[in-house]
């Protein structure tokens, strides 16, 4: 009933092509945006901003990047964390070595460096596919982390290879409180998500999807696989790079190359699998699931069982429950949480008259 779209006529191409063609979606999405932009910074405390919301947003952005590559262009990658590392270390070096470098420009340049590296490691995708390509991107994961550790120039000759980021100042305003860092992260993520949404609806995105579904057929209808695949690698790595720079600047403040290890790459891959492969919303839902569920379990399990369980057992139980829930969700909906939302929405449109 609430979701009925009767009476909403589309009178122009523009109205037909907008991101949210249904009015309820537009209103709902505006409310969500207003909630996160206006209400959250006003009421959330430091714990929620710094330890929950900022990492979820950053990982959403990284998952979005991987989703463009894997979900839309069909190229499996295990190098997302390494591209994040490139973004973080590149932004750090631009800020360090170029006097008066504005932060937002360093962020973009960091992303562009990651994009360049991503294209280089995407080249094998022109020859190999599927799991073989995953192994090739695995090489990126190991090579990049090795290079960042090996050459001290990247970390400004810090003895331990750890970089600690400069203060974030934009137009004279210092982003040093959790709320301001949160708003900065949210703005960047929202902007890039909007861009991604439009990109996948444009000819670029259609070319990616054509290559994903069948690259021979795509080539026959005039899509250049080289162009499509490499642009997917570039855009995906750009997103991961920006996420990595935000990870360093607005979240942790100090990062080491080992922080961007294979585990993190797998985590980002799990985010898109749980959230929904080939869906923008899925990247956000998946990131929230993977980041928040372990924290939730760590809070709830010791409280539920109090002193009954030893701490080791309760720590292991968290992992068991976490793994179990992942399997449960994948069995219930193999296409991810985003698909659950979609099904729910379709049901709502008919409710309460399913026929």
């Amino acid at each position: 009933m609430l979701y009925r779209e009767a009476g909403q006529f589309k009178a122009s191409y523009q109205a037909d092509q907008q991101i949210f063609p249904i009015r309820q979606d537009r209103v709902g999405f505006s409310l969500v945006l207003a909630f996160f932009f206006l209400l959250v910074p006003a009421v959330a405390n430091q714990y929620w901003l710094q330890a929950i919301l900022i990492p979820v947003l950053i990982f959403s952005l990284a998952a979005l990047g991987l989703n463009i590559l894997t979900g839309y262009a069909g190229q499996l990658s295990l190098g997302s964390a390494a591209f994040m590392a490139v973004g973080a270390f590149a932004a750090y070096n631009f800020m360090l070595r170029v006097p008066g470098m504005p932060f937002l420009l360093a962020l973009v340049l960091g992303g562009l460096c990651a994009a360049a590296v991503g294209v280089a490691f995407g080249l094998p995708s022109l020859r190999i596919k599927g799991f073989y390509l995953a192994v090739a991107t695995l090489a990126a994961q190991f090579f990049i982390i090795w290079a960042l550790t090996k050459f001290p120039w990247f970390s400004n000759h810090s003895a331990s290879g750890v970089i600690s980021t400069q203060a974030v100042v934009i137009l004279g305003y210092a982003f040093d409180t959790p709320a301001s860092k949160y708003l900065l992260t949210l703005s960047v993520v929202a902007l890039l998500a909007l861009l991604a949404k439009n990109m996948v609806r444009s000819s670029t995105g259609r070319a990616w999807m054509a290559v994903r579904d069948m690259d021979v057929a795509a080539e026959v209808i005039g899509i250049r696989p080289l162009h499509a695949k490499l642009s997917a690698f570039a855009v995906s790595s750009f997103y991961c790079g920006v996420a990595g720079a935000l990870y360093a600047y607005t979240y942790l403040g100090t990062v080491e190359p080992e922080g961007f290890n294979l585990d993190l790459s797998f985590k980002i891959l799990f985010m898109i699998i749980i959230g929904g492969v080939g869906s923008i919303l899925g990247a956000f839902l998946g990131a929230a699931f993977i980041v928040l569920l372990p924290i939730f379990l760590d809070n709830i399990i010791p409280q539920l069982f109090g002193g009954l369980l030893s701490s080791s057992f309760s720590s292991n139980l968290q992992l068991i429950v976490f793994g179990g829930l992942i399997i449960f969700f994948l069995i219930v909906e193999p296409h991810g949480l985003a698909r659950l939302w979609q099904i729910g929405k379709e049901k709502l449109r008919l409710w309460p008259f399913p026929h």
Binding site: Q46, V291, N299, S315, N316, Q318
Partner: protein
């Protein structure tokens, strides 16, 4: 703020929790200590041993003494999985708990240490990093809130050089010798390099650095290279599975194990037992004593384990390397709180700022250690405003095939050399970050 959020999260649980909790402890004076522990994952052996020992020591203080001057210690664990992001979440979660907030943050992970390095200063929570973390934080003028106590990596490296020097008949005999530095190729593994390079120049030995890629379960190539190099000693700066692998590979290539000197993260039972016979004779550094012979450990057995309140699931681990290191964490934390209470009021919970003062004025001399029953468990320690390391000493121990045996007493690092490197590095950090070092003559 913190209250509202906890209430929000806790609301659905409140009914359940009320049913489970029979009686809430009376609201006595309490000192809260947040424990960012890790009991799962590849490093669980270290995490469960150290946090287990630490918790046992705090239980001992509560059970035997009724707390510190009547202030009971309370704690809560938060699972970090040795992961930086989870560690930051734990830090934020724990920092507001208890009547005075979190007293001290000790994450047992260099990555997490770096991630919260600047936050602890803002939130006024002292961070103690025993045997890991940022080495140059020993310069308390630049890092007032960080205490890399007992020994830093550079003190360990210097202690190793001294120990090897002693083996070959004096430091001057090191001239012309060859030492291989076999290290975990990571920030942690590279920590020792600056000091080793400087020592190689100073004493005239040849230093050969051989990295092992993480995780280090394949070391054929490295040990082939070591066989070709024929070094007089091998320093093993490893972590996790890399250690037993190195010992097994050394046995296969016929390198004598008593010429391998490991660091303190390469010298626990968990490193040697998996290597089996290959580990026999292997030497490692340690910053705490081993065994159950210390009076304080026997007190723990008597007051904690005999009453079934111990934290270790495997009671045989009491007295092991990691467990005893946990006891040392407990002793230093408790004594810092006690020192703070002497200044700011006995019998009151201390704030993080006051406990920081306590850490900075910690003075554990021989008498004090004897009173604690911890003579030989940790070295004499005197922390000051400028020197947050306090001791700079290491012990060496040897594996006899079934247990670690103490090999030497405390060996003091070349503190002038270590201090020089620390001040140079901390000075560079201060310059990069625009920090003005404290003037220690003006500190209270």
């Amino acid at each position: 703020m913190e209250k509202t959020h906890r209430a929000r999260r806790g609301a659905p649980l409140a009914a359940l929790a009320a049913g489970l909790l029979i009686a809430l402890p009376a609201l006595a004076q309490e000192q809260f200590i947040g424990l960012p522990s890790y009991r799962v994952g590849p490093y669980a052996a270290g995490g469960s041993g150290i946090y287990g020992g630490w918790i046992d020591y705090m239980t001992l203080i509560n059970e035997r003494d009724g707390g510190i001057n009547g202030v009971k210690l309370t704690w809560e664990e938060c699972e970090t999985e040795y992961n930086n992001a989870r560690g930051v979440e734990c830090y934020e979660r724990l920092k507001g708990k208890g009547p005075t907030g979190n007293t001290t943050f000790q994450p047992l992970s260099t990555g997490i240490t770096y991630s919260v390095l600047e936050k602890v200063a803002q939130d006024k929570i002292p961070m103690v990093t025993i045997g890991y973390g940022r080495t140059d934080a020993a310069d308390g003028r630049v890092f007032p809130w960080v205490f890399p106590m007992i020994s830093t990596y550079w003190s360990q490296a210097s202690g190793m050089v001294k120990f090897i020097g002693g083996k070959v008949g004096g430091l001057e005999q090191l001239k012309g010798k060859k030492i291989v530095y076999l290290y975990h190729d990571s920030a942690f593994g590279k920590e020792g390099i600056p000091l080793m390079e400087q020592s190689a120049q100073k004493y005239g030995f040849t230093l050969k650095q051989i990295p092992v890629a993480h995780p280090g379960n394949e070391q054929q190539a490295q040990w082939l290279q070591i066989r070709q190099e024929k070094p007089d000693y091998v320093i093993l700066w490893g972590w996790g599975v890399m250690n037993p692998t190195a010992l097994r590979a050394a046995a296969r290539s016929g390198y004598p194990r008593d010429r391998i000197v490991g660091g303190w993260w390469s010298g626990s039972e968990e490193d040697t037992i998996p290597a089996g016979d290959a580990a026999k004779g292997y030497i490692s550094a340690n910053l705490s004593g081993v065994g159950t012979g210390f009076p304080v450990i026997q007190e723990v057995q008597k007051h904690v384990y005999a009453r079934n309140k111990g934290n270790m699931e495997d009671k045989n681990r009491v007295g092991s390397v990691y467990y005893n290191r946990g006891i040392v964490h407990g002793i230093l934390t408790v004594e810092a709180i006690r020192t703070a209470q002497q200044k700011f009021g006995a019998g009151k919970p201390m704030t993080g700022e006051q406990v920081r003062w306590g850490f900075e004025h910690l003075n554990l001399d021989a008498d004090h250690l004897a009173r604690l029953g911890a003579t030989g468990l940790l070295p004499e320690l005197k922390v000051s405003c400028a020197d947050h390391e306090g001791a700079g000493k290491v012990k060496f121990q040897q594996w006899d095939g079934s247990k670690w045996l103490p090999l030497t007493d405390w060996i003091e690092a070349d503190r002038a050399q270590v201090r020089g490197l620390i001040e140079a590095s901390a000075g560079a950090y201060a310059k990069e970050k625009g920090v003005t070092p404290r003037d220690c003559s003006k500190e209270p």
